[in-house]
């Protein structure tokens, strides 16, 4: 990084030199974030390739052996079948296999499900991923909004009953694992008190529904998504509240807030434009960590509510050791998180221009 910066410094004399343009691109905040996202994708895919292909007792070996031993297939035929399923040509040297594996991934070819041959992994992903993106995304958005609003209120009404009550409540709820909160909802609201029709709320939408852009379908989707979304909101809202509260308190002590008050600005304007805006910025760095956490939690939460999302499919694939499905879903979940992180980074850099310079 240092050399690139030197290069661009040297070439400032001739503005249009290709080196300086390269230096400018290299020095760009977004470009570096983009490179990091690519590096992460590369590392994750490589780890998965080695797990699936090279580890002793890896699923491909097991699958081939199984075909040979139980069905009496000749070895080359068994290998052909495995190659078709995993989208890997087993006859090639490993390094070439690795490249063709990357090529296939880039084309969106994740192979076929081991247990239900004929179903491509991509089909499964396209069918179930949108529901997880919908529920996790909405859950994060709602909890972020509520958390930020209440965090500011708590900071302004420090040591009030509201502040103490919310602090205790949010620390208690955040210490219970999210899927256990989901289990509590099923046990108490669903079974013991019979407030919610949990059996009818399973799946991503009701069975007779035809997905489409109409109000009826939207309402149905919200009805089925309500429980997972509420669980994500309940378990992460306290975190946002407490972070926003402490950020707001430290921002309130800043000189520019005092000066804004001295200038006689309206209280509302100080709260939104001066305090709130600055206090909310550090939350974006935490957002990048929370996204991965909530997506991880969805794997368990969707299982509990039997929601029709990708997390539940991953759980099933892992349980049945459907390795191709497992590999594909894990990769797509990771890509989604990486993309979400990149998006959060870009948003952060746009909201707080200082960060672009500081990172250099």
């Amino acid at each position: 990084m240092a050399t690139a910066a030197d290069v661009s410094n040297v070439s400032t004399g001739r503005i249009s030199s290709p080196l300086s343009i390269l230096g400018a691109i290299w020095g760009s905040y977004f470009f570096r974030k983009f490179l990091r996202a690519l590096a992460t994708i590369f590392i994750v895919t490589t780890i998965i390739f080695f797990l699936v292909r090279l580890l002793p007792g890896n699923p491909i070996e097991i699958y081939v052996n199984q075909l040979v031993v139980t069905y009496g297939l000749p070895v080359h035929e068994a290998k052909d079948q495995a190659a078709a399923l995993f989208a890997i040509d087993l006859e090639q040297p490993v390094i070439l296999q690795y490249f063709s594996y990357l090529q296939n991934l880039a084309r969106g070819n994740f192979g076929q499900s081991v247990l239900s041959p004929g179903t491509t992994v991509t089909e499964v992903i396209l069918r179930f991923l949108p529901w997880t993106l919908f529920s996790v995304g909405l859950g994060l958005l709602i909890s972020f909004t509520i958390g930020v609003l209440f965090g500011v209120i708590m900071a302004y009404r420090r040591d009030s009953y509201l502040d103490h009550g919310l602090t205790v409540l949010s620390s208690v709820i955040s210490s219970v694992p999210d899927f256990l909160i989901g289990l509590l909802i099923v046990v108490w609201l669903g079974v013991q008190w019979k407030i919610l029709p949990i059996a009818a709320m399973r799946g991503a939408y009701s069975s007779g529904m035809v997905p489409g852009l109409n109000l009826e379908f939207f309402l149905d989707a919200f009805f089925h998504g309500a429980l997972p979304i509420s669980t994500y909101v309940l378990t992460s809202v306290g975190f946002w509240m407490l972070s926003m509260k402490s950020n707001t308190i430290s921002t309130l002590g800043e000189d520019y807030v005092t000066i804004a008050k001295a200038r006689g600005l309206k209280e509302w304007r100080i709260t939104t434009a001066y305090v709130g805006r600055n206090a909310i910025l550090p939350l974006f760095t935490i957002l990048t960590i929370r996204i991965g956490f909530v997506v991880g939690g969805s794997l368990l939460v969707e299982q509990i509510f039997e929601y029709g999302g990708i997390g539940r499919m991953l759980g099933q694939a892992i349980n049945q050791r459907d390795y191709t499905l497992m590999q594909g879903i894990f990769l797509i979940i990771t890509f989604s998180v990486i993309f979400a992180n990149f998006f959060a980074d870009v948003l952060y850099g746009w909201l707080d221009p200082r960060i672009k310079l500081q990172d250099n």
Partner: protein, 302 residues
């Protein structure tokens, strides 16, 4: 707050100073009420899980006529789907959970402390390298990764599970500890130590780490809560072979046997959930007191 907590330093016999040290310890511990209660609950949970099994034996006999009975004197928490006592399962089921969480937290905290302080203190290319790796691992959703790995590597021992979780959980802790090392680096006493040319290892081990102890302890506690969450989740997905009863296994069994759908089985499902929730809450509350105890500025009489 600091002034009233700090004891006057005097030259006393070892016994007296040890007693004074202990008194300071208890006073610092009890200073924050929430933290003190958390500490007592954690101690109680550890005693219950490690000493309890000596007195209360795990009930393994199936009694078909006593399925899902509600609490009585004989069965303080009722019975499960095979008529076995739930209280005995709770007492015997904490050991594994605490052991795995402790092991995982130990490994991840050691990694985070070593590389976090080096990264923050030395800086330069070492910092960029460590932070790039950390950021990349942090982006991969931890729990799905753990679940996928658990499917490839058959986790047949709790120690292996603890080690695996420990090797994955350090990035969050490392970032927090690096931030602390960065801010401590600017302080005068570190400047002074550098001016005296005391050497990197001396400064890190004798100056930096003692002053980071409060944060290290908090990281350790957070590491334990991550590990409790993850092992409960992995067991719930059926990825860890179920050997003996522990709280996570109880939840999984209650779920698989459909215990959540009966009116009388609510004790069976609630007991392990409440046990895990109390443990998590107590560990998090305890950190408030441990922060004070491990703050070297507040421990004058040592």
């Amino acid at each position: 707050m600091t002034a009233q907590l700090v004891e006057d330093q005097q030259t006393d016999s070892i016994l007296v100073s040890a007693w004074k040290g202990f008194r300071t310890f208890v006073r610092l511990l009890a200073y924050n009420r929430v933290g003190f209660v958390g500490f007592l609950v954690v101690i109680f949970m550890i005693l219950l899980s490690y000493a309890g099994p000596l007195f209360i034996e795990l009930d393994t006999k199936t009694k078909i006529d006593r399925i899902y009975i509600t609490p009585t004197l004989e069965h303080p928490l009722g019975t499960d789907h095979q008529g076995r006592d739930i209280w005995s399962q709770i007492v015997n089921g904490g050991k594994d959970v605490i052991y795995v969480a402790f092991l995982a937290a130990l490994i991840s905290t050691v990694i985070a402390v070593v590389f976090g302080t080096l990264s923050g203190f030395i800086g330069g290319w070492m910092d960029s390298a460590i932070m790039s790796v950390t950021d990349i691992i942090l982006t991969i959703p931890q729990f799905p990764l753990l679940a996928v790995l658990a499917a490839f590597i058959s986790l047949n021992s709790l120690t292996l599970l603890g080690i695996l979780m420990g090797l994955l959980n350090w990035p969050t802790l490392l970032r927090a500890l690096r931030a602390q090392a960065l801010s401590l680096k600017q302080r005068d006493f570190i400047e002074a130590a550098r001016a005296l040319d005391l050497g990197v290892w001396h400064i890190v081990l004798r100056e930096l780490v003692p002053n980071m102890m409060p944060y290290i302890v908090v990281s350790f506690a957070l590491g334990m809560t991550f590990a409790v969450y993850q092992q409960a989740g992995l067991v719930f997905l059926g990825l860890v072979p179920i050997s003996a009863g522990n709280w996570s296994v109880m939840i999984q069994l209650a779920w698989v046997r459909g215990a959540i759908f009966y009116k009388d089985s609510v004790w069976y499902i609630m007991a392990p959930i409440v046990a895990i929730a109390i443990l998590q809450l107590a560990i998090i509350s305890m950190t408030r007191s441990l922060e004070l105890v491990f703050n070297p500025r507040l421990r004058a009489s040592e």
